[in-house]
């Protein structure tokens, strides 16, 4: 028997509630004091096809999902076929007895837990849609998890939303299913769960963490256009719009969305947009507008696999070089690539400070994996108390009152930062142009002015280095293997390190989060003397490795890359270590 260390997968068609049920079960596990890492996997369709939700739960510290499944719950024949292969010996597959299943290719040691689930549901007075609730009840029954955690989630979800009768029916179904599974199969199932006494944890993903960060940072305006997986940020902030005084706008397209945000920024508001790579492609021209006119704007870019429409509901980290160089000409921008929930929250608010301090666009580069995976974190991970509001060189009404002569919006300064006035003060009136301009903001073609303006703007990038966080080194100072990764690469790399350590292999890990201006010196120092460097990225061309070489000269030849749209798992890294 193994306790508090297992992975569930719930699989079925789109429309069967796989994701919502999975998320509910994950929350139940979290409330039982377990650590959780859950990954949804779904297709770009609304009904049918095959979706699944995978939940790893345990009572010890681990960092990511993994590939070994202990309990698979299949709502469809296709789900049976695809998940039975992932099961560890002793693992079990649960499905309705009515499904015609071909067991010829099943791996050895897999347990067949076919049950009359539909009947159980019917018997408990439930509707067909409650098959997934039954699955959760079964999971509790098999693992021994106290059903009250599941009940709590059901009550929270249905009790509030759809009236008590729905909650009641679901509770009945869960009970019946739990009882049945406990009675008939629990004994044979070797993987058990037990509530542990642990400090309360949040169960949250990158998108919500980032959205909360933005709210914490005082966001005043967000415009966007729906695009998976970026739009949930717009939707979450819209849900809080009235309460937090944030105007949000579902715009007619992404060009309008970023232009609205830039307009709001020009008007002195903390403004942002959220999108994915395809939408970002349409924002490229306006990014340069913000750069040239020194308007603070934050772009949350949640990556998905390209090129073009690509795989809308899957993951990749292939927009790095794109966001670094998007738009014609050269201007300062700041690019943050948070890798953890803590960092997603932090960059959610920090981005606004940086945008205003350096009066330039800030891109927060996330990805589907970080955005949608749910994990338990301590409440302090969303460190509201640590939030600082810094509006940079924004002039106060008093400072504006005291201003003499015509206001120079784009005054040449050593830092490159010119004090800026929000509109509305008689002395802070100025014009600004996307053309090259003089210190007042008027269009100016003179060569010397141009040179000085370019230098002024680009100086801000150097100045901003003061606020750039160096990459973090995890693990021992010296190690046999040094991993380098960025953004959401964090999770599987940390988990691979943990496994390697168990195998007696020492490794450490340089995790790059602030990507631009590139912390070249810190990266070079950290990698100097590394024995074997191995980069890990979710893309085809090894973009971060290329950037490191360009900026530091360090050539990372061993690269573990994944570009099939699926998140990198610790096992993938371990296989890669052998493979390369």
């Amino acid at each position: 028997m193994m306790k508090n260390d297992m992975t569930f997968v719930l699989g079925g068609e789109a429309g069967q509630g796989v994701e919502s049920t999975g998320a509910g079960f994950a929350l139940a596990l979290a409330r039982a004091g377990l650590r959780v890492f859950a990954v949804p996997d779904y297709r770009s369709r609304i009904r049918g096809g095959h979706n699944f939700f995978q939940i790893r739960a345990g009572d010890y510290e681990f960092f990511s999902h993994n590939e070994q499944v202990h309990l698979a719950m299949a709502l469809t024949r296709e789900a049976v076929d695809s998940h039975v292969r992932q099961l560890v010996p002793g693992g079990a597959i649960v499905y309705d007895t009515s499904l015609k299943v071909d067991k010829s290719a099943w791996p050895d040691g897999v347990q067949d837990f076919a049950m009359p689930i539909a009947d159980l549901v019917q018997g408990a007075g439930g509707s067909k849609l409650m098959m997934n609730t039954a699955m959760v009840g079964i999971a509790a029954g098999l693992t021994g998890l106290d059903l009250r955690f599941v009940e709590g989630v059901i009550e929270d979800n249905f009790g509030r939303k759809r009236g008590d009768s729905m909650a009641e029916a679901n509770l009945k179904v869960a009970h019946a299913a739990r009882d049945y599974a406990r009675a008939h199969f629990a004994e044979r199932f070797p993987f058990k769960l037990e509530a542990v006494d642990a400090p309360k944890r949040l169960l949250i993903g990158g998108n919500p963490a980032m959205s909360l960060g933005a709210l914490a940072g005082g966001i005043q305006f967000m415009a966007g256009y729906p695009m998976t997986p970026g739009s949930p940020i717009l939707e979450m902030i819209t849900a809080k719009s009235a309460e937090f005084g944030v105007v949000t706008k579902h715009a007619e397209d992404e060009i309008a969305a970023i232009c609205m945000a830039i307009g709001a920024g020009r008007a002195g508001a903390r403004a942002a947009t959220a999108t994915s790579g395809g939408g970002f492609s349409l924002m490229v021209e306006a990014l340069g507008l913000a750069g040239m006119t020194e308007v603070p704007v934050v772009v949350f870019e949640v990556q998905r696999p390209g090129p073009s429409t690509g795989l809308p509901t899957r993951t990749e980290q292939s927009d790095l070089m794109f966001v670094l160089h998007a738009s014609q000409g050269e201007f300062p921008r700041i690019v943050l690539a948070p890798g953890t929930i803590e960092e997603a929250f932090r960059d959610g608010w920090r981005a606004f400070n940086l945008a205003e301090k350096y009066q330039c666009p800030v891109i927060v580069l996330s990805d589907h994996f970080l955005a949608t995976s749910l994990q338990t974190v301590p409440p302090e991970a969303l460190d509201f108390g640590g939030v600082v509001i810094d509006r940079g060189a924004m002039l106060t009404p008093e400072q504006l009152d005291a201003l003499e002569g015509e206001y120079k919006r784009f005054a040449f300064t050593d830092s490159g930062i010119s004090p800026w006035a929000p509109p509305g003060h008689p002395k802070g009136v100025y014009r600004s142009a996307s053309d090259e301009h003089d210190e007042y903001g008027s269009i100016e073609e003179d060569a010397t002015n141009r040179r000085l303006m370019m230098e002024k703007r680009m100086r801000k990038l150097e100045t901003s280095r003061a606020d750039i966080l160096p990459p973090k080194l995890y693990g021992p100072e010296r190690a046999a293997i040094t991993f380098v990764s960025w953004g959401s690469g964090y999770y599987p790399v940390r988990e691979a390190m943990r496994i390697l350590a168990q195998q007696g292999v020492s490794s450490n890990f340089l995790h790059i989060t602030d990507v631009w201006p590139f912390p070249a010196q810190a990266v070079a120092e950290a990698l100097r003397g590394a024995k074997r460097i191995m980069s890990v990225e979710s893309n085809y061309t090894g973009q971060m490795a290329g950037l490191i070489r360009r900026e530091t000269g360090i050539h990372i030849e061993e690269q573990i890359l994944r570009y099939d749209g699926r998140p990198i798992s610790p096992e993938y890294i371990l296989r890669g270590l052998e493979g390369v």
């Binding site: 009235a242 232009c259 609205m260 307009g263 006119t293 509201f384 009136v429 014009r431 996307s434």
Partner: protein, 290 residues
């Protein structure tokens, strides 16, 4: 008291002598001064083109943005600072080619911005290509054998899109234009003013004379009733030997977009001081994830 001089910018216009943009410029300044609006209460937002240089020549909050994108930029301004009067200046290429989609959506939203389209029926700044409003058959560098595209009718499009204020003016009649601008600035919601603006350099057809011979007040049209959409839809189709100018349609019955935004009920969000959230609020946000 605000005067036209308050809007004087130190920058000398680079427009060609005789350009119709001068008349528009004069009218805008006159209108704003007569409304008693001070430069800091106004934001002029433009795209890119000859027309779009206007904010550079005006002492007021000014933002010269991207070709075709003045409307969404202005919308962003308005949505955080509804207390500002926001005026868009666009060209016919800028506003009706690159920016057409934004115009339609601004109109249906009834967002409170005044859209002044400097319609010279040509691309001025890029040296004379035909524009969406150029007559069919216009010869230019991109249509050497005559343009095939039928011209767009901006008034008709705006009406179809739900605009609540639709007008046409002639830049030479600066006084009339100023009056229309005043009405538009005081209007509730989106207002389009399509201004016939001679380009003395690249448009040798639609000259001052050409327009002068043709324009007449739309109010002279039989049954003039700017509150009647169907009347306006018909009047907007008149174009040729006679070109009506004036206010074609206006209704104050539709609330402006910004009036209806829940987050704006408490005042302009752009003026809200930014502070860290109080612990209770933070706690409530977290609670949803536990």
């Amino acid at each position: 008291m605000v005067t036209v001089k308050d809007y004087q910018s130190p920058v000398t216009p680079t427009w060609c002598p005789g350009c119709g943009n001068f008349g528009i410029h004069q009218a805008v300044k006159t209108a704003l001064a007569e409304l008693g609006l001070a430069p800091h209460q106004v934001m002029l937002v433009s795209g890119i083109g000859q027309s779009s240089k206007l904010p550079d020549y005006t002492h007021a909050n000014g933002y010269m943005t991207l070709h075709g994108r003045a409307i969404p930029c202005a919308t962003g301004v308005k949505l955080v600072r509804p207390d500002l009067k926001v005026i868009v200046h666009s060209g016919d290429g800028d506003g009706y080619a690159e920016g057409m989609g934004h115009m339609v959506h601004a109109a249906r939203r009834n967002i409170g911005i005044v859209h002044i389209a400097h319609n010279n029926q040509i691309y001025g700044l890029t040296k004379g290509q035909y524009s969406p409003t150029s007559a069919q058959g216009t010869r230019s560098s991109t249509s050497p054998e005559g343009s095939i595209d039928r011209p767009v009718n901006p008034l008709l499009i705006a009406l179809a899109a739900g605009a609540t204020f639709v007008a046409r003016a002639f830049s030479k009649n600066s006084r009339e234009l100023a009056d229309i601008i005043k009405a538009a600035v005081q209007h509730r919601g989106y207002a389009l003013i399509d201004v016939l603006q001679p380009c003395v350099t690249f448009n040798r057809v639609n000259t001052y004379e050409w327009y002068s011979e043709r324009v007449y007040p739309v109010s002279q049209e039989p049954g003039y009733d700017p509150s009647d959409l169907n009347w306006a839809l018909r009047a907007a189709q008149i174009w040729g030997d006679r070109i009506p100018v004036g206010i074609f349609y206006q209704t104050e019955d539709v609330p402006a977009y910004e009036e209806q935004v829940p987050a704006l009920k408490a005042g302009p969000v752009g003026l809200r001081p930014i502070r860290p959230l109080p612990p209770e609020k933070a706690q409530a946000l977290k609670a949803a994830y536990m």
